[in-house]
């Protein structure tokens, strides 16, 4: 009835939720340990970069020119060449999965090169297309480099087409390291996780254990219940966020070009959306098992698959792009990547933050509606 009553009840309920959270070990495992594991896994274990790819080099022509041309393959941390004499040997290796690619130097290569139309054959194992493309880039880059040096030194005249090198330059992620874009995405993943796996159980558990019936017949208000359930998990989420940011900065040296304050603010907004989403699902399903399944399907998996975390959203069908635009995770994902890699770009910041704030308000309102003090 009075403001004092609201504050007192909110404090009492928050105390209760915090105690319950701390006494259940599995909360802390999912809330703190799992994010830590994810950070290390994504930072170190998971990368789209290919290192030490085995490439079988078949030297049918072993003239000094040829050897110079393929010398670029040696000493690279990305490629591990294996020298072979015949094609069947190389084919056997690729079939056995011992090599990711074959570079074949035909026996007339030296002759043809002098004539201006030297040809090399690069065969890639397309089973893993992402790896194949990466290796293709490395291999052709290394050979082109070597041939350029060759041309400089020996003053061999090549035809124009062969002598013109393409100079690549990648913006924002100069090293083209996948860690740089995986780590900001990890912030999205970890904050989604707490909502999907922890808050999604809270209201359902009270329904299942019958604790709400007695609680309803007290002066408590639905909004007080909702806010009290969000508060302790907001703290857990903030700890996770801090872990992510520290790991990004010191462990993986991912650049943070946007202002830290804005990164934190945007992350907290999304954290609130994620927690409220879990809570709302919990309030609708009233069943812990159903709630965690629904949360997994509508919150966690889409945040991985459809938010632009793994797949570029410009390459997906229109319908899926629409769906992805409905996800708060998509908006946060694009914002956080921009903030990390490109810096403070205000139109994007304002738009995404407005969308996230709207989601947070609607979801919290919807959650307290599921706690209307009625049993029918």
């Amino acid at each position: 009835m009075t403001g004092g009553g609201f504050a007192r009840r909110l404090a009492a309920l928050t105390r209760k939720e915090t105690r319950q959270m701390l006494r259940d070990r599995s909360n802390l495992v999912v809330g703190l340990l799992l994010p830590l594991v994810l950070i290390l896994l994504f930072g170190y274990g998971l990368s789209f970069d290919v290192k030490h790819a085995r490439i079988a080099v078949v030297l049918e022509d072993s003239s000094p020119v040829t050897l110079n041309a393929v010398a670029g393959l040696v000493g690279s941390q990305y490629l591990d060449p294996v020298w072979l004499q015949s094609m069947p040997q190389a084919e056997a290796m690729i079939r056995a999965g011992e090599a990711d690619a074959i570079l074949r130097v035909p026996n007339e290569f030296t002759h043809d090169l002098a004539g201006g139309n030297g040809r090399l054959q690069l065969i890639l194992n397309g089973v893993d297309s992402t790896t194949a493309q990466t290796i293709e880039g490395y291999a052709s880059g290394a050979i082109a480099n070597a041939l350029e040096h060759l041309a400089d030194r020996r003053d061999v005249r090549f035809q124009d087409s062969a002598s013109v090198g393409i100079v690549q330059r990648i913006w924002f992620n100069e090293a083209a390291t996948s860690t740089w874009f995986l780590v900001p995405g990890l912030i999205v993943l970890v904050t989604t996780l707490i909502g999907a796996f922890l808050t999604s159980l809270l209201i359902a558990r009270e329904w299942e254990r019958g604790t709400l019936e007695a609680l309803f017949v007290t002066p408590v208000r639905p909004m007080e219940l909702t806010l009290a359930k969000l508060a302790p998990y907001l703290v857990i989420g903030m700890i996770d966020l801090a872990m992510c940011l520290l790991a990004a900065k010191f462990l993986f040296q991912v650049p943070m070009r946007g202002a830290l304050s804005i990164i934190v603010l945007a992350s907290l907004l999304y954290l609130l959306v994620s927690l409220a989403m879990g809570l709302w699902i919990s309030g609708i399903t009233r069943n812990q098992f159903a709630a965690s399944q629904v949360a997994l399907l509508v919150s966690f998996l889409p945040a991985i698959m459809l938010s632009g975390f793994v797949f570029d959203l410009r390459n997906v069908p229109v319908v899926i792009r629409w769906v992805s635009q409905l996800l708060p995770a998509t908006h946060f994902m694009s914002l956080i990547k921009t903030l990390f890699m490109a810096g403070n770009y205000w139109p994007a910041i304002l738009q995404s933050c407005a969308i996230l704030a709207a989601y947070a308000i609607v979801l919290i309102w919807a959650t307290q509606r599921t706690l209307a003090k009625r049993l029918d």
């Binding site: 007192r8 009492a12 209760k16 319950q20 019936e213 017949v217």
Partner: protein
């Protein structure tokens, strides 16, 4: 003293029946009643009478379809919050936060109700004193026994003195000692603080302590008045029959209850049979029925009046959800499967032999060196307060829980070695409904029959028998059955493979008196057919149906013997009925234990 706390006028409430196209279920059907302030008011009635629905409407948790309802002068439908701020409500299942301690649960409710800090210390002290829980304030609520949880629930409801206290079946599944304690607390608060209380209950001895009693049935009011006024309905019709020494009270009771034209109700009690005769029963017919057993008139009590009311309703409204007399005659097909008796399982040997049985959970001893035997065809009752080790003993007997030590022979098989063989010879009916709610009655029977290895013609024949015997609709969805029928289905399932021994874990918890009579009639018929029955119960009067009973407390066997012997062991304070005998034996046992640990 006469201002109404609750006025209800023509109240109606229906629910969507679960299940597709099932229509609507009427919970309250034009109910009108007025409860007065400053007194204890009881709502009694069989399952499905609408007691819980009414309580929830009082508490503003449900909205009625039509009708007027005022609680403490406030229209609940318009302003539930104003009512909720002033009442205390204890639902049937008071949801304590099990991971919070006793004190933390109390603090939470005190904060929510805004109890001033200055008052708290004295209020908490009083509540902890009344519930005798001052020693346990630091213990997590989840680690309390069932009776203690219920007391803590009451304490949480009473952290401040409400203007009206609503208690929805506060003593279901609670042992007689905790039940007595709960009532002592409530009655003391009514006396000291002029508390207004409305309590719904299945125990008529509890209703008898109330000032005003409302008897509800199928959403309507069947009768109202003071207990004494209600009792007059049975005046002059109540008797006690004393069976001759060679006739067990149970058999005489079975004969009486099977004659509904002459007898309204009959129950075994302290070796005798209490019965109510039909008002128009002829003396000669009654004499024949009693077959020489002398019958003396006795004073009527509220239960007699209640049974009269329910039977009258049956006569007017046609059979209710539970027919009063299912006429379950002793039937040979219920006898255990005949076949080559297994080695060591010859007739004459006890069905169950327990020697020095021990079960420990970590350093906690749940069952301490317990020994007893159960003869074939015997009904053996296992009684004890919540947390006494009954369920643990029971689970070990069924082979669901391995024993830590001791010998355990069931149907001639050593449960510690040949568990599978022993299991094939026992039937088990769990305390909670353990069948598949989404399957039909027939599907459940088929599944469990198959699980026991029955198939083809044999399975169909057994299912046919079961459906007929228990009067079950094969197409009904199991989860939608009324409690009494669910219990029948559970029994039918447990009996499909014609076990030699049937284990029943609190089979009558939450079932109304009519259904309980029918249920026990089935049990006595089974025992007559040679099935050994082991049963646990919280209704002490049901112990009178047993051949022998054992009383356990804190893992130890306190008393074992026939109901008459056990009553005698209780001494003078417990000799008149099983409830007081039970309380006396448990208290004596605890006093001995305390004296020993003090020494």
């Amino acid at each position: 003293m006469t201002t109404p706390t609750v006025t209800v006028e023509d109240l109606r409430k229906t629910f969507d029946a679960a299940g597709a196209g099932a229509g609507r279920v009427t919970a309250l059907d034009g109910l009108t009643l007025v409860a007065r302030a400053g007194q204890l008011t009881a709502l009694v009635g069989p399952d499905g009478a609408g007691k819980t629905t009414l309580m929830r409407i009082f508490a503003g948790l449900l909205r009625p379809d039509s009708g007027k309802i005022c609680v403490l002068g406030i229209d609940v439908a318009l302003d539930p919050q104003a009512v909720q701020a002033r009442i205390g409500y204890m639902p049937q299942r008071f949801g304590l936060y099990e991971d919070l301690s006793v004190q933390e649960n109390l603090d939470l409710y005190a904060d929510l109700h805004g109890v001033p800090m200055a008052e708290r210390a004295s209020r908490f002290a009083r509540m902890l004193d009344l519930t005798d829980m001052a020693r346990f304030t630091g213990r997590p609520a989840g680690k309390l026994s069932g009776g203690m949880k219920q007391k803590l629930g009451l304490a949480c409801t009473l952290v401040r003195a409400p203007d009206l206290l609503l208690l929805d079946e506060p003593t279901v599944g609670v042992d007689p000692l905790s039940r007595r304690d709960l009532w002592a607390i409530v009655q003391q608060l009514v006396r000291d603080e002029g508390l207004s209380v409305i309590v719904s209950t299945a125990y008529l001895d509890e209703a008898e302590r109330c000032t005003q009693v409302f008897v509800m049935d199928r959403g309507r009011l069947l009768a109202e008045g003071t207990p004494n006024a209600l009792k007059t309905r049975a005046k002059g019709l109540t008797y006690t029959a004393m069976p001759p020494a060679d006739l067990p009270a149970r058999d005489l009771q079975a004969r009486l209850i099977d004659a509904p034209r002459l007898i309204v109700d009959a129950v075994p009690m302290a070796g005798n049979v209490r019965f109510i005769r039909q008002p128009d029963a002829e003396a000669a017919g009654l004499q024949d029925l009693l077959a020489g057993a002398p019958a003396e008139p006795r004073g009527e009590d509220l239960e007699d009046a209640f049974m009269m009311l329910l039977h009258q309703r049956e006569a007017v409204a046609g059979p209710g959800p539970i027919p009063p007399d299912t006429g379950l005659a002793p039937d040979t097909s219920l006898a255990p499967a005949t076949g080559p008796a297994p080695a060591g399982g010859q007739a004459g040997q006890p069905a169950i032999v327990v020697r020095d049985l021990v079960r420990k959970f970590g350093d906690f001893t749940a069952v301490a060196s317990t020994s007893f035997e159960v003869a074939r065809g015997e009904i053996f009752g296992l009684l004890g307060p919540n947390g006494a080790g009954k369920t643990t003993t029971f689970r070990m007997l069924c082979g669901l829980l391995p024993a830590t030590g001791g010998t355990l022979l069931v149907a001639g098989h050593d449960l510690r070695r040949a568990r599978a063989q022993a299991r094939g010879r026992i039937g088990y009916v769990a305390q909670k409904f353990a069948l598949y709610g989404a399957l039909s009655v027939r599907e459940n029977l088929e599944f469990f029959g198959g699980a026991y290895g029955l198939r083809g013609k044999m399975l169909r024949a057994r299912i046919g028998d079961a459906l007929e015997r228990f009067d079950l609709d094969p197409a009904a969805q199991s989860g939608q059955l009324p409690a009494g029928y669910r219990q029948r289905l559970a029994m039918a399932t447990g009996l499909l493979h014609q076990p030699e021994i049937l284990f029943l874990d609190e089979p009558t918890s939450g079932i109304d008196p009519l259904a309980r009579r029918a249920f026990w009639r089935t049990i006595t018929a089974l025992a007559h057919g040679g099935v050994t029955i082991v049963v646990t119960t919280h209704f002490m009067e049901e112990a009178e149906y047993c051949d022998r009973i054992a009383i356990q407390d804190a893992g130890r066997m306190l008393a074992i013997g026939t109901p008459r012997e056990v009553r005698a062991m209780a001494g003078p304070s417990g000799s008149h009925d099983m409830n007081s005998a039970f309380i006396a034996i448990v208290e004596q046992g605890r006093a001995r234990r305390d004296a020993k640990s003090a020494a």
